[in-house]
């Protein structure tokens, strides 16, 4: 930051003041946080079953497409039916996009990292085609669809700002998933599959069924993120509705160390960084690329921290092996 000629302290204070202390700033932050939270919840869920879903980007776009179709072409429904229906459409489309790699992994043994990554490009291009041809608004200057029906728009959360109900969807999801792993047998099964698939098979848990289920839900949650972007923020489907949320979600999920509460906090942090970016550029004259560099450094530092901690931990456990004689016959 000093290199760009700005005062770093002032820059940080602007960043956090504008993104967390300011009414509109909070709305902005929550809007960025919503898709990040939903997508990273999905990534973490897959991670619990030992699957790395890096296809969030494609799943978000497919989810947006699903929501847009229902939001555009279904009419005459009251909001309390239309909104859930459109969200459901997003969930299903994203779920299919996550379910395909899940099926391929579970039945054919294809590595999910490769399939989810490749499906990103397919998903993005399908959406791109849809908004350029069949779904384009008449006379539109650039490729986007018409505005979705009013009954499918998510309510605004903080009056006067743009904050929409997507964030509550994310928080509810995180809470449900958190308690799923805390007290349900399904969460237990997922964890057994993730920690030791051989033991899962031995215990009579169907590993392939769990992997397919988890990947479909994981994709579905990213789809919900796409749906909430279309229904809450943009009200139309664009060619690109996610500036890389899908990849950022992987970082968030990995940094949260297996905790859904951690995902909420990390998403808030990343959301704040994203919403502070524009202000920073405007007020402190710092180019937004620098902010992304800061974000990258943050991830790097936390990752190094985790790695070091892990090393310390493994050293401790290896010592514990030495300590075993404490429990003598």
């Amino acid at each position: 930051m000093i290199l760009t000629g700005a005062n770093p302290l002032e820059a940080y204070s602007i960043l956090f003041r504008e993104s967390l202390m300011d009414y509109y700033g909070i709305g902005n932050t929550l809007n960025r946080m919503a898709p990040l939270l939903l997508t990273s919840c999905g990534v973490l869920l897959a991670l619990k079953a030992g699957q790395l879903n890096i296809g969030g980007e494609g799943q978000i776009h497919m989810g947006g497409l699903g929501a847009a179709i229902i939001g555009l072409y279904v009419h005459g429904l009251p909001s309390f039916i239309h909104i859930p229906l459109a969200l459901f459409g997003g969930f299903v489309f994203g779920g299919i996009w996550g379910g395909i790699p899940g099926y391929l992994k579970a039945v054919r043994g294809v590595n999910e990292v490769i399939t989810t990554l490749l499906l990103n490009y397919i998903g993005l291009n399908i959406v791109s085609y849809m908004v350029q041809r069949p779904m384009i608004e008449l006379g539109a200057a650039s490729p986007f669809t018409p505005v979705i029906a009013d009954s499918a728009k998510l309510p605004i959360f903080l009056p006067g700002s743009a904050a929409h109900a997507g964030i509550s969807l994310g928080l509810i999801t995180a809470a449900i998933l958190g308690s799923l792993f805390h007290r349900s047998t399904l969460g237990y099964k997922i964890e057994v599959v993730g920690q030791n698939p051989v033991a899962a098979r031995y215990a009579g848990i169907s590993v392939s069924r769990i992997i397919m289920l988890v990947m479909a839900i994981s994709g579905g949650l990213a789809g919900l993120a796409g749906a909430s972007e279309v229904m809450g923020l943009k009200y139309r489907l664009f060619e690109v509705i996610s500036p890389g949320y899908g990849y950022e979600a992987v970082a968030i999920a990995l940094l949260s160390r297996g905790s859904f509460a951690g995902v909420v906090m990390t998403s808030l942090f990343f959301g704040a960084l994203r919403s502070g970016v524009n202000v920073l550029q405007r007020e402190a004259g710092i180019p937004f690329t620098i902010v992304y560099a800061i974000q990258g450094l943050t991830v790097l530092f936390i990752a190094i921290n985790l790695a070091v901690e892990h090393k310390v931990l493994t050293r401790m456990t290896s010592r514990q092996k030495e300590l075993k004689p404490v429990e003598i016959k």
Binding site: V192, G204, I205, Q320, P325, E327, K329
Partner: protein, 516 residues
């Protein structure tokens, strides 16, 4: 002549004393055994000797001179080399490349010349190895020779072997012993770590027994009996001959007819096995590892597809039942061969491991929601009943010793009073005390009326535990014999696939239950 002397070696980890003032003298040309239970401090002591750990107190002397090793390469330069239980070899590289790895620092490498050197060396030491072979393709016994050559190549005079026989077949063990005796004859000093008493008595000159980090005693081989050694090691009397009441045979529990099963590579692993097993009976399955034992156990437990034949449990055909169905029925307890890879989720707590098979049943859960009080009661009861030694009930399984891990598996598999118990190598890697415990539990289950399939590669174990013994060879039963009347020699012969000339078919037929 004393070659290596340890004086007052002490090593602490935090507040725990792993080695407490250990004194040890080893003569050159001696095979000296270090005996002790898991966690008695054997490995710590050897890691100090090989330079991996620095002692907190005490002194090491080599030929009377005090030495200090700052690293394992430092120890090797002083002529002390360690052969680990898990080989430190690169499977993709050739024997020659593995042996010279880390010794060449020049920029030129004449691999052919090195290969010739190694061939010559291996002939000198009588350790036949093809220096150009890829290590990954060699059998385990030969890989171990490569490990030995590796340290000899570095000019080592003291060889430390950490439980070297754990991975070997009986014939490989024999050839290893021949090699070690030859090395000792050429003035190498060998430190042999093990908890298998028979091997030590067979091989070593002297035995130092460690107990709880201290030297219990050093004895000359031949002056003590096996039972006395075990007592020194455990600190109490150990019964080698489990007093086994005569079997109280009940109804037929398991009937296997003409079973065919494939292994992971879709090769026939079991080819037409038939047998019956009655309540209150232990059928031992002996045989060298890899003759289809694993596939047989998996097939009965429902983890492997059965290509032909039938399995009946209490008269009900379960041949094509899924593992889930069998788990739900709770009539089969399966102690898998590898508790860490198959039987337990190492990162889970004891509680979570205890409910691995019953988590979706009442009282542990209802409508998919856990009922934690019942789970906690279960943990508490299991820890008490199976004497699982823990400092806290919240411990993760990977913080337990091998014996206690196996107790967790036992507690889970024996709860719910299974009709059939499949025990696959249940005592592998356990020390004397834990082995005795596991065997007693299984015998108690036999008294209760469980039918038990006891699979092990350790002949002694099988002979001691079983009522009948089946020898498995290349996917078939060579024979089934009565454990009370058979001899070691007879079984040894059958294990290699030689059928007896006077086949006691009566034994085989009586054991096959006719299905109606």
């Amino acid at each position: 002549m004393v070659y290596l002397r340890l004086k007052g070696i002490t090593k602490r980890f935090g507040t725990f004393v792993a080695n407490n003032a250990i004194d040890l003298d080893v003569n050159s040309g001696e095979i000296h055994a270090i005996l002790g239970e898991n966690g008695a401090g054997k490995t710590t002591l050897m890691n100090i000797l090989s330079g991996l750990y620095q002692p907190d107190g005490g002194q090491i002397y080599l030929q009377g001179r005090p030495v200090r090793f700052s690293s394992s390469s430092d120890a090797i330069q002083h002529g002390i080399g360690m052969i680990h239980q898990h080989f430190m070899l690169v499977p993709q590289l050739s024997v020659t490349e593995n042996i010279i790895l880390g010794t060449e620092f020049g920029s030129k490498l004449n691999l052919r010349q090195k290969a010739n050197e190694i061939e010559l060396m291996s002939r000198n030491y009588n350790l036949q190895v093809d220096p150009t072979a890829i290590v990954g393709n060699l059998p385990v016994g030969t890989q171990q020779r490569v490990e030995i050559l590796k340290v000899l190549y570095r000019g080592v005079k003291v060889l430390i072997l950490d439980e070297p026989t754990a991975v070997l077949t009986p014939s490989e063990v024999e050839s290893l012993f021949i090699i070690l005796r030859q090395l000792a004859a050429t003035n190498h000093t060998i430190l042999f770590i093990s908890h298998k008493l028979d091997e030590l008595l067979d091989l070593c000159n002297r035995v130092t027994v460690l107990r709880r980090g201290q030297v219990a005693e050093t004895v000359v081989n031949g002056s003590v009996s096996k039972a006395e050694l075990a007592k020194l090691m455990v600190g109490r009397d150990v019964l080698f001959d489990l007093q086994k009441p005569p079997p109280n045979l009940g109804t037929d529990v398991l009937q296997v007819r003409n079973l065919h099963v494939e292994d992971d590579r879709h090769l026939a692993a079991i080819q037409g096995i038939s047998f019956g097993l009655r309540a209150g009976e232990i059928l031992g399955i002996a045989g060298v590892d890899g003759n289809g034992q694993r596939e047989l156990a998996d097939a009965i437990a429902g983890l492997r597809h059965i290509t032909q034949g039938t399995i009946k449990l209490e008269g009900v055909e379960i041949t094509h039942w899924s593992a889930q169905q069998r788990v739900r029925q709770l009539k089969i307890g399966y102690i898998p061969e590898d508790r860490q890879k198959i039987g337990l989720v190492m990162s889970f707590s004891i509680s979570k491991n205890l409910i691995l098979k019953t988590f979706n049943q009442f009282p542990f859960s209802r409508h998919g929601i856990f009922l934690f009080s019942a789970i906690q009661t279960n943990t508490h009861r299991s820890i008490e009943q199976f004497d699982i030694r823990v400092t806290s009930e919240q411990l993760k399984v990977n913080q337990l010793s091998g014996g206690n891990q196996q107790k967790v598996v036992l507690a889970r598999e024996l709860s719910g009073n299974p009709k059939l118990i499949i025990a696959m190598q249940p005592c592998r890697g356990l020390d004397v005390g834990a082995t005795e415990y596991v065997q007693r539990q299984l015998l108690a289950e036999r008294q209760r009326g469980a039918a038990i399939l006891y699979i092990s590669t350790e002949l002694e174990e099988v002979m001691m535990m079983s009522d009948r013994i089946a020898m498995m060879y290349r996917g078939q039963f060579v024979d089934i014999v009565d454990a009370a009347t058979t001899t070691r020699e007879e079984i040894g012969l059958l294990m290699t696939g030689n059928r007896r000339t006077n086949t006691t078919t009566d034994l085989v037929t009586t054991s096959l239950i006719e299905t109606e």
